[in-house]
Symmetry: C2
Subunit: 82 residues, 2 copies
């Protein structure tokens, strides 16, 4: 069966996000004056697995082995049928 | 009033996503064999505006002026109160 994984990877709380700081600075220069800014990466992955749990496990394995750095990143996985 | 914007920026349909191709290739090399893979960027921005509509408009302006390239990107804005 096909499942769609939505994996959101963001920096752990307290981690410095230089990219977000730079973007916030640029927005302030354009006089948008935002209070705070954070960033995240999202992956939309379609997998062929026997069950929803197997699909979620595959998502976790992909995060642990490639997509996320366990030291600085946290991730959320949403599974839905296709 | 403070509002929280969640801005999701992704490539328009049909656009080549070299980053996604490279990641899919790496996942296949790790024998994950995914069917398809797409990526998106998410910005969590807190703004101080008079109304929800004003906050949404500010989000659109930020996308049009800095965060998104209108030629290749499409974006979604979710507004919620803080």
């Amino acid at each position: 069966m096909k499942f769609s994984l939505k994996i959101t990877i963001s920096l752990k709380k307290g981690m410095l996000d230089p990219e977000a700081l730079a973007i916030k600075h640029a927005l302030d220069n354009l006089s948008f004056n935002v209070e705070s800014l954070g960033t995240a990466r999202v992956f939309f992955i379609e997998v062929d697995e026997s069950s929803e749990d197997a699909a979620r496990q595959k998502g976790q394995d992909m995060c642990d082995r490639l997509l996320a750095n366990p030291v600085i990143h946290s991730y959320e996985i949403e599974v839905s049928g296709v």
